[in-house]
Point group: C2
Chain length 214, copies 2
């Protein structure tokens, strides 16, 4: 494999974490090579889609051999930026915040949780794993003294945008958003949203669509 | 507006929860009508996209008036199947399970949490809100005695597929999946997945793509 281009279409980007997951699982099972056909069967894609996706960043499988699992995994890891380290804060120390801090997988991938913030007096000073919950009043000072790359936002909807504005003002350039809101941010800030409600409501749609078929 | 067709393209379906969210917010603000242009500006779409989306299930705005917020919201609510009631169980009583049970919004929309299941002896018998945590050994009996529509799956990855198989075996037809796995299910079972890891890794990609631009 040659050098990899980082400029990939968003459709492929959205599939990269999935490739990464499957390749990690294959490596854990000590599987050294995989054909586009085998990978396609695992991922519910076609072999030609797989080849096209991987070609797009310069990962060409060898004919009659396929892809080297470790090499391909490392290539995708780099493209995803997971060879770097990220300092994170979590705003909102509810159950979702707890779930994220405790998620083993993130630690393995260079995602470091530095602090949680909340306004609930009962939460302030508590520790989640080895992450301390601070008051929102301490946010500015904390961010000023630590290089924070990512803010995970898990606050009530009604303060979602104002909290975002504050985070942006402090110079944080990436937000993982759990608030059911389309956040407005400047062009140099990236937001990725996880909307659990949307997923549940898509499911209730699908349940009834299925009924109609019967 | 006339009767609404339920057969809508998946692209539109995926946007319906968002329309529903915005229309709910508008109604909460006592706004009675909205033009496709205004709705487009709020949602980051074009007015023609909005009209096309809504036309596709028979919701036609009136020229020079726009859409009646309440009527449109109710139409989308019905299409999403949110006029019905759903009995849910949650398998995996970790922080994520707790977060979901405590999510006020779901209760308002006819989503009823009937029980949680876990294998951790420390969790069994506990109550999360008014939802009891039972042992996985009691799953079959519970499902046999309650009509369960949706299973929310939040178990470790290594038992993700086997738990799914068991849930499917028990006749549950819809799964909201938080396990980072592409679950294999029969055709008559619907799965909607929320993959927090994928979203975070997309974000780390976007952070570095941004850097390249500078």
């Amino acid at each position: 494999m040659q050098t990899f281009s980082k400029r990939v279409s968003m459709t492929v980007v959205k599939r990269l974490p999935k490739y990464y997951q499957y390749l990690t699982d294959l490596q854990d099972q000590h599987i050294e090579k995989i054909s586009s056909k085998e990978l396609a069967a695992m991922m519910g894609l076609t072999a030609s889609q797989i080849r096209q996706d991987l070609n797009s960043f310069g990962a060409y499988g060898q004919q009659g051999y396929g892809y080297k699992v470790k090499e391909l995994k490392e290539a995708i890891r780099k493209i995803l930026g997971l060879d770097l380290q990220y300092n994170c804060i979590i705003i909102g120390s509810g159950n979702l915040g707890h779930a994220i801090v405790n998620y083993e997988r993130f630690k393995e991938e260079g995602i470091h949780f530095k602090a949680m913030f909340d306004v609930d007096p009962d939460q302030i000073g508590k520790k989640v794993g080895n992450v301390t919950v601070y008051h929102m009043d301490d946010l500015d000072a904390f961010v000023a003294h630590h290089k924070i790359d990512i803010c995970i936002l898990s606050v009530p909807q009604k303060v979602g945008q104002e909290t975002t504005d504050r985070v942006v003002e402090l110079g944080i350039k990436a937000i993982l958003n759990f608030v059911p809101l389309d956040l407005t941010v400047p062009d140099d800030v990236v937001v990725e949203s996880v909307n659990i409600t949307d997923s549940l409501f898509t499911l209730t749609y699908l349940i009834n669509e299925d009924d109609d078929d019967e």
